[in-house]
Symmetry: C2
Subunit: 117 residues, 2 copies
DNA sequence: CTATTGTTCTAATTTCACTAGCACAACCGA
DNA sequence: TCGGTTGTGCTAGTGAAATTAGAACAATAG
């Protein structure tokens, strides 16, 4: 399964699902035009409520990463494929952060502060 | 004020406070030995409860970024100064992400997925 | 000694994630 | 056309976590 979830992770389940899809798309494991599992189907596979999956899908739609339509499902958009070139930079950044004993919280805090402007 | 908060940001207030401090320390705006505002004082300035500020301070203590002691307050540790070399890399990464129209959610998702392993 | 500051405690309120079940509308394939 | 699939929308309830509030207490600085 492409998508995994850890209930006691502190991160909301719908956020973990969305994060999995974002990462998979960037990684190229999900190509534009491809369809995500049906919400009901994925919900059962993850032993989670349908609404929780839908919440993740709708967040992804709001970000423009998927196209949601009744009967058709959640289709990955072209936008989701962008940023593949960021992967190496991200890996390098994380590696350096760990080398300097900088936690993920700090790294994420830095990114959130650099973005808005 | 070094620390700002947006109540409707989706991010918990105590997390925003902690994030501000993490970023400020990494940026060098907060040097080791320096003291954070007293909890009661900051709480009033942000129009927030004292416990909320304390929660942020305690999280920072758990991460080793500040030293908490009664009567003395929250003092920035040496550990908080680490990672200054990451700043450029973070800025470059964010810049490239925006150039490619990649949102902050995706960037953060990527980092969270690269960390644990 | 006195004022400051974090610590601890109880308690109430509020917000949000998650679950549950249902009806409905758009879409697809046969 | 028809039947099954899929997201949408709604109401409702539960539980955990965030936030607020107020108080007493212990360590520290001056």
């Amino acid at each position: 399964m492409l998508i995994r979830v850890d209930p006691g992770s502190g991160v909301a389940i719908y956020d973990q699902i969305a994060a999995s899809v974002r990462a998979a798309a960037t990684r190229g494991a999900l190509s534009p035009g491809e369809r995500l599992p049906a919400a009901r189907e994925l919900a059962e596979a993850l032993d989670v409520n349908v609404h929780t999956v839908l919440r993740a899908y709708q967040d992804l739609r709001d970000e423009g990463l998927v196209d949601l339509r009744r009967g058709r499902g959640a289709v990955v958009t072209d936008a989701a494929a962008r940023g593949a070139s960021l992967l190496d930079a991200v890996r390098a950044l994380v590696a350096e952060a760990r080398r300097e004993d900088v936690g993920p919280q700090t790294l994420i805090s830095l990114i959130r502060e650099e973005y808005p402007a």
